[in-house]
Amino acid sequence: MPEQHEHMITIRGLVNRFGSQTVHDGLELDVRRDEILGVVGGSGTGKSVLLRSILGLHGPNEGTIKVMGQEIRYHEPGPHKKWGVLFQDGALLSGLTVQENVELPIALHSDLPIDTRRELAVLKIFMVGLDLNAASKYPNELSGGMRKRASMARALALEPKVLFLDEPTAGLDPISATEFDRLISYLHANLDLTIVLVTHDVDTLFGVCDRVAVLVNKGIIVDTLDEIVKHPDPWIQEYFGDPRAVRARKAAKSRVKT
């Protein structure tokens, strides 16, 4: 019964065109409260465009997008205090330390005294598994994994309700990637968070997500992992039939059992 769920994000009739090429045609999507939704799709199916449309960074040709009841319009202020975004390569401001990067949104959106601001930032930095040593460094002095964590701390700075992750594990080694997956699960379990993550990583998909949204044929198919692997669409069959995906699925299942 989908009516029972409160929807954090609703998308209706989204159309995105680039010249003569239509990427999304009447796409509809509901993201439920407290779920982790994984978005997958082949190259050029518009994963990034979808994410950018939701964030108000791209103006769709048609359709309405609502995040927490607020309609998103291109280039207009969205619910900035209620969402956090982790960009693919972190997008930390390179001229500021990690600490200052995390403090920045707090400073922008509140009038807290400096001490409080600092304490809250440190709290978030610890939360994502970094220490004070890392907090005082500049982004270019950190490894890729640490930069992602720092960026995560910044995304969490304002206690968001919705978290968007763009390719959270891209460019990380398998160990860091697994740790990052764990961080995502940990944050989801401990905070009131709805997470939308765009990913290529099948391990993340099977290990973390509650539901999966697959972008195919200019639309979107959303279902739980167990159901979606049975979907007849050829791209879905190919994607989840791939040996890597099969292995990831088995691994995720065995993890649940133990």
Binding site: S94, G95, T116, F126, M127, D131, N133, A135, E159, D192
Partner: protein
């Protein structure tokens, strides 16, 4: 005070009932409200959260900090009636606070060693400057010994970008400068009825100093900044490293063409600058001062010899060298951040213009001494 909590006191127990939204947006008010509570004589505090509608990490943190304050005053604190999710947040803060003990010095203000740091910075910058100049000089030498075919094409490209593309703007600026010079000198010369000497003044100033100087300053602004920004971005995006691992000497294909290109382009640009300056003077002579084009050229031929033109042109390669080396050097020094890129681009332009003017002063003094 009633907005977020109510207080009950009963025989040694201070009970604080929390309600409403204990969230990030209210942190300031929450802290103030809690601070307003007078612990009084009670030695036990109980936080109860019956009416809590919303609670997040920031709210939990405020609560935890307050409880720590009470503990320091030897007041026992306890938490009661928290829902599981609320308690999870609190537990979190407590765990995290435990971790924080590791580096106690982090929050203390560091003593500032202003003078010591300034002197150290000067020293470090000097060493770095000497180091990079030496490094680049060596690779330039390498590059000259083993020239690459890429250099030729790239040099031609640079001549076009820094020279040919700058012709219109440089000519406009010099034309206007010619007009200004003609007007200003004519105003003084009119008093003696010696209008014709305006030609001497304009021609000497343009040929010997202003033509090359204006061209060099325009180029420093256009190309010096472009060099620094382009090389700086290439450093940031690891393109320079990519060239190196492909076995190309990045200094050879990035620096030599720019230095060489500009040293060829600027003298040529100076010729255009000189022409435009003269045209500006002649234009004002013909339209305002009753010196027609014919008498202008006649006077010009008798007052200027080839040495005057060469004085200006001989400075151009030196100025070009200064601009190109400063720009590329600063660009190559960029590391780390976009901020750094902006800073070093500014430094490149300011320093190259400064160096141009210093060099010009030296040239003028030396030429005056040797009678050139």
């Amino acid at each position: 005070m009633d907005e977020f909590l109510t207080v009950e006191r009963q025989g040694g127990l201070l009970q604080i009932n929390l309600k409403d939204h204990w969230v990030f947006a209210n942190v300031n008010t929450l802290q103030q409200t809690l601070d307003e509570i007078d612990p009084g004589v009670e030695n036990r505090v109980r936080f109860v959260c019956g009416g809590l509608k919303d609670f997040d990490l920031a709210g939990a943190w405020v609560l935890y900090e307050k409880s720590m304050d009470y503990e320091e005053l030897d007041i026992e604190t306890e938490f009661d009636g928290f829902k599981a999710t609320h308690f999870k947040f609190l537990q979190h803060i407590i765990d995290i606070a435990a971790q924080k003990e590791y580096i106690p010095g982090f929050f203390d203000p560091q003593p500032s060693h202003y003078w010591r740091n300034s002197i150290r910075t000067i020293g470090e910058n000097t060493i770095e400057a000497v180091d990079s100049v030496g490094y680049i000089a060596r690779s330039v030498l390498d590059g000259i010994k083993r020239p690459s075919r890429l250099v030729v094409g790239e040099t031609i490209h640079q001549i076009h970008a820094t020279g040919a593309a700058a012709i219109p703007i440089v000519m406009v600026v010099c034309f206007l400068m010619g007009i200004v010079l003609a007007y200003q000198s004519a105003r003084q010369l009119e008093q003696f009825g010696a209008n014709i000497f305006m030609v001497d003044l304009v021609a000497n100033a343009i040929f010997r100093e202003l033509g090359v100087l204006l061209a060099a300053i325009m180029v420093a602004g256009r190309s010096g900044s472009a060099f620094a920004a382009a090389l700086g971005t290439m450093k940031l995006t690891e393109e320079v490293d990519a060239l190196r691992v492909m076995g190309l000497n990045p200094n050879q294909i990035l620096i030599i063409p720019r230095v060489l290109g500009l040293m060829i382009a600027l003298p040529l640009l100076t010729v255009f600058a000189d022409i435009a300056g003269l045209l500006g003077g002649a234009f004002i002579g013909a339209t305002v001062l009753d010196i027609n084009w014919f008498s202008f050229t006649e006077r010009l031929a008798s007052t200027i010899d080839v040495n005057d033109v060469l004085v200006g042109l001989s400075k151009a390669p030196m100025f070009a060298f200064l601009i190109a080396v400063t720009g590329t050097l600063r660009g190559m020094q960029v590391k780390g951040s976009a901020e750094e890129l902006g800073r070093l681009t500014t430094v490149a332009v300011v320093q190259s213009i400064f160096l141009i003017i210093v060099a010009d002063a030296i040239f003028t003094v030396v030429y005056a001494r040797i009678g050139f």
